[in-house]
Subunit: 206 residues, 2 copies
Protein backbone atom coordinates (compact mmCIF):
# COMPACT_ATOMS: atom_id res chain seq x y z
CA UNK A 1 0.00 0.00 0.00
CA UNK A 2 1.42 3.42 -0.87
CA UNK A 3 1.50 6.60 1.26
CA UNK A 4 -1.68 8.04 -0.27
CA UNK A 5 -3.69 4.83 0.09
CA UNK A 6 -2.60 4.68 3.74
CA UNK A 7 -3.57 8.33 4.24
CA UNK A 8 -6.99 7.69 2.67
CA UNK A 9 -7.60 4.74 4.97
CA UNK A 10 -6.52 6.79 7.97
CA UNK A 11 -8.27 10.09 7.23
CA UNK A 12 -10.78 9.58 4.42
CA UNK A 13 -14.50 9.24 5.16
CA UNK A 14 -16.93 7.43 2.84
CA UNK A 15 -20.28 9.15 2.48
CA UNK A 16 -23.49 7.78 0.99
CA UNK A 17 -23.66 8.29 -2.79
CA UNK A 18 -20.15 7.08 -3.65
CA UNK A 19 -18.52 10.13 -2.09
CA UNK A 20 -15.04 9.98 -0.59
CA UNK A 21 -14.41 12.90 1.73
CA UNK A 22 -10.72 13.77 1.92
CA UNK A 23 -11.03 17.42 2.81
CA UNK A 24 -8.95 16.96 5.94
CA UNK A 25 -5.78 16.63 3.83
CA UNK A 26 -6.48 17.20 0.13
CA UNK A 27 -9.22 19.60 -0.86
CA UNK A 28 -9.99 21.99 1.97
CA UNK A 29 -7.20 21.52 4.45
CA UNK A 30 -3.96 20.61 2.67
CA UNK A 31 -1.47 18.33 4.37
CA UNK A 32 1.81 19.59 2.95
CA UNK A 33 3.72 16.41 3.64
CA UNK A 34 1.24 14.26 1.68
CA UNK A 35 1.12 16.85 -1.10
CA UNK A 36 4.93 16.96 -1.33
CA UNK A 37 5.02 13.15 -1.51
CA UNK A 38 2.47 13.26 -4.33
CA UNK A 39 4.63 15.77 -6.22
CA UNK A 40 7.65 13.47 -5.89
CA UNK A 41 5.61 10.44 -6.88
CA UNK A 42 4.38 12.15 -10.08
CA UNK A 43 7.95 13.17 -10.92
CA UNK A 44 9.09 9.56 -10.41
CA UNK A 45 6.27 8.04 -12.47
CA UNK A 46 6.70 10.55 -15.32
CA UNK A 47 10.52 10.51 -15.21
CA UNK A 48 10.76 9.42 -18.88
CA UNK A 49 8.66 12.27 -20.31
CA UNK A 50 9.49 15.89 -21.04
CA UNK A 51 7.25 18.48 -19.38
CA UNK A 52 7.39 22.26 -19.73
CA UNK A 53 4.01 23.23 -18.27
CA UNK A 54 1.64 22.01 -15.55
CA UNK A 55 -2.10 22.45 -16.12
CA UNK A 56 -4.80 22.03 -13.49
CA UNK A 57 -8.27 23.39 -12.77
CA UNK A 58 -9.36 25.60 -9.89
CA UNK A 59 -9.59 25.21 -6.98
CA UNK A 60 -8.42 22.02 -5.31
CA UNK A 61 -5.97 20.94 -8.02
CA UNK A 62 -3.88 24.08 -7.45
CA UNK A 63 -2.03 22.96 -4.32
CA UNK A 64 -0.72 19.71 -5.82
CA UNK A 65 0.00 21.36 -9.18
CA UNK A 66 2.00 24.13 -7.47
CA UNK A 67 4.31 21.65 -5.73
CA UNK A 68 4.68 19.65 -8.96
CA UNK A 69 5.55 22.87 -10.84
CA UNK A 70 7.97 23.79 -8.04
CA UNK A 71 9.70 20.41 -8.46
CA UNK A 72 9.84 20.60 -12.27
CA UNK A 73 10.58 24.34 -12.17
CA UNK A 74 8.02 25.06 -14.89
CA UNK A 75 4.97 27.37 -14.96
CA UNK A 76 1.66 26.18 -13.53
CA UNK A 77 -1.55 27.23 -15.25
CA UNK A 78 -4.93 26.76 -13.64
CA UNK A 79 -7.99 26.69 -15.87
CA UNK A 80 -10.84 28.83 -14.57
CA UNK A 81 -14.51 27.95 -14.35
CA UNK A 82 -17.49 30.15 -14.99
CA UNK A 83 -21.14 29.56 -15.71
CA UNK A 84 -20.95 31.70 -18.81
CA UNK A 85 -18.09 32.72 -21.05
CA UNK A 86 -18.27 36.54 -21.05
CA UNK A 87 -15.90 36.83 -23.94
CA UNK A 88 -14.24 34.04 -25.83
CA UNK A 89 -11.96 36.41 -27.76
CA UNK A 90 -8.68 35.68 -26.11
CA UNK A 91 -9.46 32.38 -24.38
CA UNK A 92 -9.51 28.70 -25.13
CA UNK A 93 -12.91 27.54 -23.86
CA UNK A 94 -14.27 24.06 -23.20
CA UNK A 95 -17.18 22.66 -21.21
CA UNK A 96 -17.35 20.20 -18.34
CA UNK A 97 -20.34 18.87 -16.46
CA UNK A 98 -19.94 19.38 -12.72
CA UNK A 99 -21.59 16.60 -10.68
CA UNK A 100 -21.07 18.69 -7.55
CA UNK A 101 -22.95 21.69 -8.95
CA UNK A 102 -25.23 19.78 -11.34
CA UNK A 103 -24.54 22.03 -14.30
CA UNK A 104 -22.18 22.53 -17.21
CA UNK A 105 -19.35 24.90 -16.47
CA UNK A 106 -17.26 26.69 -19.01
CA UNK A 107 -13.61 25.95 -18.40
CA UNK A 108 -11.09 28.34 -19.92
CA UNK A 109 -7.47 29.32 -20.19
CA UNK A 110 -6.28 32.66 -21.60
CA UNK A 111 -4.53 32.11 -24.92
CA UNK A 112 -1.07 33.35 -23.93
CA UNK A 113 -0.73 30.62 -21.30
CA UNK A 114 -1.02 27.56 -23.57
CA UNK A 115 0.80 27.21 -26.87
CA UNK A 116 1.85 24.77 -29.57
CA UNK A 117 5.29 24.33 -27.98
CA UNK A 118 3.83 23.15 -24.66
CA UNK A 119 4.32 19.62 -23.37
CA UNK A 120 1.68 19.65 -20.69
CA UNK A 121 1.39 17.53 -17.58
CA UNK A 122 -2.24 17.70 -16.42
CA UNK A 123 -2.61 17.39 -12.64
CA UNK A 124 -5.82 17.05 -10.64
CA UNK A 125 -6.95 15.81 -7.26
CA UNK A 126 -9.80 13.54 -8.42
CA UNK A 127 -10.74 11.58 -11.53
CA UNK A 128 -14.28 10.18 -11.70
CA UNK A 129 -16.08 10.34 -15.06
CA UNK A 130 -13.29 12.40 -16.57
CA UNK A 131 -15.36 15.50 -17.37
CA UNK A 132 -12.84 18.05 -16.05
CA UNK A 133 -9.89 16.10 -17.43
CA UNK A 134 -11.34 15.91 -20.94
CA UNK A 135 -12.01 19.66 -20.83
CA UNK A 136 -8.35 20.28 -19.91
CA UNK A 137 -7.19 17.96 -22.73
CA UNK A 138 -9.45 19.86 -25.13
CA UNK A 139 -7.87 23.19 -24.06
CA UNK A 140 -4.36 21.83 -24.67
CA UNK A 141 -5.37 20.51 -28.10
CA UNK A 142 -6.99 23.84 -29.04
CA UNK A 143 -3.64 25.51 -28.37
CA UNK A 144 -1.80 22.96 -30.54
CA UNK A 145 0.14 21.73 -27.51
CA UNK A 146 0.74 18.14 -26.47
CA UNK A 147 -0.67 16.29 -23.46
CA UNK A 148 2.51 14.68 -22.13
CA UNK A 149 0.77 12.96 -19.22
CA UNK A 150 -2.08 13.07 -16.73
CA UNK A 151 -1.35 12.77 -13.01
CA UNK A 152 -4.27 12.18 -10.65
CA UNK A 153 -4.18 11.86 -6.88
CA UNK A 154 -7.31 9.72 -6.44
CA UNK A 155 -9.03 7.86 -9.28
CA UNK A 156 -12.47 6.42 -8.68
CA UNK A 157 -11.87 3.17 -10.52
CA UNK A 158 -15.57 2.28 -10.56
CA UNK A 159 -16.32 5.30 -12.75
CA UNK A 160 -15.50 5.59 -16.42
CA UNK A 161 -12.88 8.39 -16.51
CA UNK A 162 -9.76 6.25 -16.06
CA UNK A 163 -10.68 3.48 -18.50
CA UNK A 164 -11.78 6.02 -21.14
CA UNK A 165 -8.57 8.04 -20.91
CA UNK A 166 -6.40 4.89 -21.04
CA UNK A 167 -8.38 3.59 -24.04
CA UNK A 168 -7.78 6.95 -25.73
CA UNK A 169 -4.05 6.35 -25.34
CA UNK A 170 -3.21 8.92 -22.65
CA UNK A 171 -0.43 8.25 -20.22
CA UNK A 172 -2.48 8.35 -17.02
CA UNK A 173 -0.96 7.84 -13.59
CA UNK A 174 -3.22 7.79 -10.54
CA UNK A 175 -1.50 7.46 -7.19
CA UNK A 176 -4.50 5.75 -5.56
CA UNK A 177 -7.17 3.92 -7.56
CA UNK A 178 -10.32 3.03 -5.65
CA UNK A 179 -11.69 -0.33 -6.75
CA UNK A 180 -14.64 -0.29 -4.38
CA UNK A 181 -15.85 1.52 -1.30
CA UNK A 182 -18.76 0.94 1.03
CA UNK A 183 -20.20 3.68 3.20
CA UNK A 184 -21.89 1.27 5.60
CA UNK A 185 -18.77 -0.71 6.48
CA UNK A 186 -16.33 2.14 5.61
CA UNK A 187 -14.22 -0.44 3.73
CA UNK A 188 -12.16 0.79 0.78
CA UNK A 189 -10.35 -1.51 -1.65
CA UNK A 190 -7.61 -0.17 -3.90
CA UNK A 191 -6.47 -1.49 -7.26
CA UNK A 192 -3.05 -3.16 -7.01
CA UNK A 193 -0.26 -1.03 -8.44
CA UNK A 194 3.48 -1.70 -8.80
CA UNK A 195 5.31 -0.58 -5.68
CA UNK A 196 8.04 2.05 -6.01
CA UNK A 197 11.54 1.31 -4.75
CA UNK A 198 12.10 2.42 -1.17
CA UNK A 199 14.30 5.48 -0.93
CA UNK A 200 15.11 8.15 1.61
CA UNK A 201 14.58 11.27 -0.45
CA UNK A 202 14.57 14.27 1.82
CA UNK A 203 11.36 16.10 1.02
CA UNK A 204 11.98 19.48 2.64
CA UNK A 205 12.48 22.66 0.62
CA UNK A 206 16.23 23.36 0.50
CA UNK B 1 12.90 47.82 -5.66
CA UNK B 2 12.19 44.23 -4.60
CA UNK B 3 11.73 41.14 -6.83
CA UNK B 4 7.93 41.39 -6.90
CA UNK B 5 7.88 45.10 -7.73
CA UNK B 6 10.32 44.39 -10.58
CA UNK B 7 8.17 41.51 -11.78
CA UNK B 8 5.04 43.72 -11.73
CA UNK B 9 6.83 46.42 -13.77
CA UNK B 10 8.03 43.80 -16.26
CA UNK B 11 4.88 41.68 -16.61
CA UNK B 12 1.92 43.52 -15.07
CA UNK B 13 -0.58 45.37 -17.24
CA UNK B 14 -2.68 48.27 -15.96
CA UNK B 15 -6.28 48.26 -17.20
CA UNK B 16 -8.84 51.03 -17.02
CA UNK B 17 -10.77 51.03 -13.72
CA UNK B 18 -7.79 50.66 -11.38
CA UNK B 19 -7.18 47.06 -12.43
CA UNK B 20 -3.72 45.52 -12.33
CA UNK B 21 -3.54 42.39 -14.46
CA UNK B 22 -0.89 39.99 -13.20
CA UNK B 23 -2.37 36.78 -14.50
CA UNK B 24 0.81 35.95 -16.43
CA UNK B 25 2.60 35.09 -13.16
CA UNK B 26 0.26 35.26 -10.16
CA UNK B 27 -3.39 34.41 -10.64
CA UNK B 28 -3.88 32.33 -13.77
CA UNK B 29 -0.41 31.27 -14.80
CA UNK B 30 1.84 30.85 -11.76
CA UNK B 31 5.53 31.64 -12.04
CA UNK B 32 7.02 29.21 -9.53
CA UNK B 33 10.22 31.16 -9.05
CA UNK B 34 8.36 34.36 -8.09
CA UNK B 35 5.98 32.37 -5.87
CA UNK B 36 8.89 30.64 -4.11
CA UNK B 37 10.54 34.02 -3.52
CA UNK B 38 7.29 35.31 -2.03
CA UNK B 39 7.15 32.32 0.33
CA UNK B 40 10.71 33.02 1.51
CA UNK B 41 9.96 36.73 1.86
CA UNK B 42 6.92 36.04 4.06
CA UNK B 43 8.97 33.66 6.19
CA UNK B 44 11.66 36.35 6.56
CA UNK B 45 9.23 39.14 7.43
CA UNK B 46 7.31 36.99 9.93
CA UNK B 47 10.43 35.36 11.41
CA UNK B 48 9.57 36.58 14.93
CA UNK B 49 6.07 35.11 15.09
CA UNK B 50 4.84 31.57 15.73
CA UNK B 51 2.62 30.07 13.04
CA UNK B 52 0.94 26.66 13.04
CA UNK B 53 -1.57 27.12 10.22
CA UNK B 54 -1.82 28.98 6.91
CA UNK B 55 -5.24 30.27 5.83
CA UNK B 56 -6.13 31.56 2.38
CA UNK B 57 -9.20 31.79 0.16
CA UNK B 58 -9.84 30.01 -3.12
CA UNK B 59 -8.66 30.17 -5.80
CA UNK B 60 -5.63 32.33 -6.53
CA UNK B 61 -4.32 32.50 -2.96
CA UNK B 62 -3.80 28.74 -2.92
CA UNK B 63 -0.53 28.60 -4.88
CA UNK B 64 1.31 31.10 -2.64
CA UNK B 65 -0.23 29.64 0.52
CA UNK B 66 0.87 26.12 -0.47
CA UNK B 67 4.51 27.16 -0.84
CA UNK B 68 4.35 29.10 2.43
CA UNK B 69 2.87 26.02 4.15
CA UNK B 70 5.57 23.88 2.55
CA UNK B 71 8.25 26.18 3.97
CA UNK B 72 6.68 26.34 7.47
CA UNK B 73 5.70 22.65 7.31
CA UNK B 74 2.22 23.40 8.64
CA UNK B 75 -1.26 22.67 7.21
CA UNK B 76 -2.79 25.05 4.67
CA UNK B 77 -6.54 25.68 4.78
CA UNK B 78 -8.36 27.41 1.98
CA UNK B 79 -11.70 29.03 2.73
CA UNK B 80 -14.37 28.25 0.16
CA UNK B 81 -16.82 30.61 -1.46
CA UNK B 82 -20.43 30.02 -2.33
CA UNK B 83 -23.39 32.21 -3.13
CA UNK B 84 -25.46 30.50 -0.47
CA UNK B 85 -24.56 28.57 2.65
CA UNK B 86 -26.33 25.21 2.21
CA UNK B 87 -25.72 24.22 5.76
CA UNK B 88 -23.98 26.19 8.44
CA UNK B 89 -24.01 23.29 10.93
CA UNK B 90 -20.37 22.33 10.81
CA UNK B 91 -18.84 25.43 9.26
CA UNK B 92 -17.60 28.84 10.28
CA UNK B 93 -19.28 31.22 7.84
CA UNK B 94 -18.58 34.86 7.03
CA UNK B 95 -19.47 37.18 4.17
CA UNK B 96 -17.35 39.18 1.75
CA UNK B 97 -18.37 41.49 -1.05
CA UNK B 98 -16.74 40.50 -4.32
CA UNK B 99 -16.01 43.50 -6.57
CA UNK B 100 -15.20 41.09 -9.40
CA UNK B 101 -18.58 39.37 -9.22
CA UNK B 102 -20.55 42.33 -7.79
CA UNK B 103 -22.21 40.29 -5.08
CA UNK B 104 -21.76 39.09 -1.51
CA UNK B 105 -20.24 35.66 -1.25
CA UNK B 106 -20.39 33.39 1.73
CA UNK B 107 -16.90 32.40 2.77
CA UNK B 108 -16.57 29.33 4.95
CA UNK B 109 -14.21 26.89 6.60
CA UNK B 110 -15.29 23.53 8.01
CA UNK B 111 -15.04 23.58 11.80
CA UNK B 112 -12.40 20.85 12.22
CA UNK B 113 -9.85 22.90 10.25
CA UNK B 114 -9.68 25.96 12.49
CA UNK B 115 -9.44 25.83 16.25
CA UNK B 116 -8.67 27.82 19.38
CA UNK B 117 -5.07 26.56 19.42
CA UNK B 118 -4.34 27.92 15.93
CA UNK B 119 -1.87 30.74 15.32
CA UNK B 120 -2.89 31.60 11.81
CA UNK B 121 -0.90 33.32 9.08
CA UNK B 122 -3.40 34.62 6.52
CA UNK B 123 -1.99 34.68 2.98
CA UNK B 124 -3.60 36.18 -0.13
CA UNK B 125 -2.55 37.44 -3.53
CA UNK B 126 -4.31 40.85 -3.42
CA UNK B 127 -5.49 43.30 -0.81
CA UNK B 128 -7.79 46.11 -1.97
CA UNK B 129 -10.68 47.11 0.31
CA UNK B 130 -9.99 44.19 2.63
CA UNK B 131 -13.33 42.41 2.17
CA UNK B 132 -11.88 38.90 1.76
CA UNK B 133 -9.24 39.49 4.43
CA UNK B 134 -11.76 40.64 7.02
CA UNK B 135 -13.88 37.57 6.27
CA UNK B 136 -10.85 35.33 6.89
CA UNK B 137 -10.07 37.17 10.15
CA UNK B 138 -13.71 36.71 11.21
CA UNK B 139 -13.46 32.93 10.55
CA UNK B 140 -10.31 32.68 12.69
CA UNK B 141 -11.96 34.64 15.51
CA UNK B 142 -15.10 32.46 15.35
CA UNK B 143 -12.87 29.44 15.97
CA UNK B 144 -11.19 31.13 18.95
CA UNK B 145 -7.84 31.09 17.11
CA UNK B 146 -5.36 33.93 16.79
CA UNK B 147 -4.45 35.91 13.67
CA UNK B 148 -0.65 35.82 13.95
CA UNK B 149 -0.09 37.83 10.78
CA UNK B 150 -1.37 38.73 7.34
CA UNK B 151 0.87 38.30 4.30
CA UNK B 152 -0.23 39.85 1.02
CA UNK B 153 1.55 39.72 -2.33
CA UNK B 154 0.16 42.96 -3.80
CA UNK B 155 -1.57 45.66 -1.77
CA UNK B 156 -3.45 48.39 -3.59
CA UNK B 157 -2.32 51.21 -1.35
CA UNK B 158 -4.90 53.62 -2.75
CA UNK B 159 -7.72 51.46 -1.37
CA UNK B 160 -8.71 51.23 2.27
CA UNK B 161 -7.86 47.59 3.14
CA UNK B 162 -4.26 48.11 4.22
CA UNK B 163 -4.79 51.22 6.32
CA UNK B 164 -7.87 49.70 8.01
CA UNK B 165 -6.08 46.46 8.93
CA UNK B 166 -3.02 48.36 10.26
CA UNK B 167 -5.29 50.67 12.28
CA UNK B 168 -6.99 47.58 13.73
CA UNK B 169 -3.58 46.46 14.96
CA UNK B 170 -2.93 43.52 12.64
CA UNK B 171 0.62 42.65 11.66
CA UNK B 172 0.24 43.14 7.91
CA UNK B 173 3.10 42.60 5.47
CA UNK B 174 2.56 43.32 1.79
CA UNK B 175 5.48 42.53 -0.50
CA UNK B 176 4.49 45.19 -3.03
CA UNK B 177 2.34 48.21 -2.16
CA UNK B 178 1.01 50.19 -5.09
CA UNK B 179 0.93 53.89 -4.33
CA UNK B 180 -0.48 54.91 -7.70
CA UNK B 181 -0.97 53.52 -11.17
CA UNK B 182 -2.09 55.07 -14.41
CA UNK B 183 -3.52 53.01 -17.25
CA UNK B 184 -2.85 55.68 -19.87
CA UNK B 185 0.88 55.98 -19.19
CA UNK B 186 1.23 52.45 -17.68
CA UNK B 187 3.26 54.04 -14.86
CA UNK B 188 3.16 52.36 -11.45
CA UNK B 189 4.60 53.86 -8.27
CA UNK B 190 5.30 51.67 -5.25
CA UNK B 191 5.39 52.70 -1.61
CA UNK B 192 8.96 52.67 -0.24
CA UNK B 193 9.67 49.71 2.00
CA UNK B 194 12.79 48.73 3.96
CA UNK B 195 15.05 46.61 1.76
CA UNK B 196 15.94 43.11 2.95
CA UNK B 197 19.59 42.15 3.35
CA UNK B 198 21.06 40.55 0.21
CA UNK B 199 21.58 36.84 0.61
CA UNK B 200 22.13 33.85 -1.62
CA UNK B 201 19.48 31.49 -0.29
CA UNK B 202 19.08 28.62 -2.67
CA UNK B 203 15.40 28.47 -3.49
CA UNK B 204 15.05 25.05 -5.06
CA UNK B 205 13.24 22.14 -3.36
CA UNK B 206 15.88 19.81 -1.87
Amino acid sequence: MNFLEEKILRNGVIKQGNILKVDSFLNHQIDVDTTRQMAYEFKRRFRDIEVNKILTIEASGIAIATLVGHLYDVPVVFAKKSETANSTDDKYVSKAYSFTHKRHNNVFVSRPYLSASDKVLIIDDFLADGEACHALIDLVHQSGGEVAGIGIAIEKGQQKGGSTLRAEGYRLESIAIIESMDWETQIIRFREQPQPPICNTHLKMG
